[in-house]
Amino acid sequence: MPTDEKAPRPLGDLERLVMEQLWAADGALTVREVHERLSGTRELAYTTVMTVLDRLAKKQLTERERAGKAWQYKAAAPREEMAADLMRDALDRAGDRREALVRFVGQVSDEEAALLRDALARLEARDG
């Protein structure tokens, strides 16, 4: 199964949790602040949080700046903006960029929707 069970899932999970903290925060957060906010719900090493924030910065999902001796992190864009980006990419039917995703279904017109229902009705009459 190529949908990998072996990939570092926990780290991926953490990325999501960390991003949620950053989105919820008013301004930029230090590693310590993120760590504090997360340790309410789960047992986490400080270095793990640091690693995750570093990974997120490399993926350009967070931005960081120096605040004294520590790094401060904030989300590269608000959640809605990233979600909109993702949806635009997923729905992009402008031919040339379509190859990146393999879509289950395309868009259809009203006439085509009628054709679809006809064909389904025939199949249901036979198999259903």
């Binding site: 999902l61 979600a83 259809v108 389904l120």
Partner: protein
């Protein structure tokens, strides 16, 4: 002089009329796997024939063996060099295009996967499945060597029952297992290697439809046709139509109609398509290779 002309003619026929004919025909949809093989063979043969034409033309104008020295004052030698340079340029363009598509596709996919990982929740029941909190019904896969993802939106989950969801997942996992994305990538690279006025969209468009049919066939073998057809209708019926899309029957309509009227899988048709695919590759290869082999044999003797 006859070999380059024949090869050039073959390249032109394979680039224009043959794809047009294949694009209008309905039979490829009955044997999607064989049809993909045939399309691949047509594309490769067209490229090989074009190369062969260039190489053999420069060879035939470059004079006899025994006078191999390049003479810049001879028009014949200059023509040969020019033809050779043109051929090389086509080759470089192909490689360039393949590289760009491969790199661009992977970068975009990686970015998309990073976004999915922070925005979508994994579904504990099915490994690799990510659920996106979006109302737009959507299901797709993000292929990768390691860490491929299947993404389904909440809007899609709302519209699907268990059986239909299983059919959708089976379809996506068929894409991932068979690496259909690589098949499409090759067609995309070839498509982009040629300028707009020479290329046709037929090969790439039909390849896209054919891999969907292959994934459908896999899913229907596992769960039956009905849940898959229902899922297709449930997810397609609700997406907004796009202007200009209604001209040709969309792949979705074709897929559901195909599930409803399964034409008998024709072994004869598949065998014919595979045979044609092999012949197409063998003929230009031998035409190109034969003079070279002959020249080598002559040289050895």
């Amino acid at each position: 002089m006859i070999t380059p002309l024949l090869l050039a003619a073959l390249a032109l026929v394979l680039a224009g009329p043959v794809p047009a004919f294949m694009g209008r025909a309905a039979w490829p949809y009955r044997v999607p796997r064989a049809a993909i093989a045939l399309w691949q063979s047509i594309s490769i043969a067209a490229v090989l024939a074009a190369f062969g034409a260039g190489l053999s033309l420069s060879y035939s104008t470059a004079g006899q063996p025994g006078e191999p020295r390049f003479d810049p004052s001879s028009p014949r030698d200059l023509t040969a060099a020019l033809v050779l340079a043109l051929t090389a340029m086509v080759g470089i363009r192909l490689l360039w295009s393949a590289g760009r598509v491969a790199i661009g596709t992977r970068a975009r996919r990686r970015r998309h996967r990073d976004l999915v990982d922070v925005l979508a929740t994994p579904d504990g029941l099915i490994p690799g499945l990510r659920v996106l909190a979006e109302e737009t019904p959507l299901a797709y896969c993000l292929p990768a060597i390691r860490g491929s993802r299947v993404v389904v939106s909440v809007g899609a989950l709302d519209r699907l029952d268990d059986g239909e969801l299983r059919a959708v997942l089976a379809h996506e996992q068929a894409h991932l297992r068979a690496r259909h994305d690589l098949v499409l990538e090759a067609f995309t690279a070839l498509h982009r290697a040629f300028p707009r006025f020479v290329r046709s969209d037929v090969a790439l468009e039909q390849a896209r439809t054919l891999v969907e049919l292959l994934a459908d066939d896999d899913a229907r073998r596992r769960n039956g046709s009905l849940p898959l057809a229902r899922a297709l209708v449930a997810l397609a019926g609700s997406t907004a139509p796009e202007a200009g899309l209604a001209m040709a029957k969309s792949a979705t309509v074709l897929r559901v109609q195909r599930l409803a009227d399964p034409e008998p899988n024709s072994t004869l048709l598949a065998v014919t398509a595979y045979t044609a695919a092999v012949l197409l590759l063998v003929v230009p290869t031998f035409t190109v290779a034969a003079p070279i082999v002959r020249a080598v044999v002559d040289a050895v003797n």
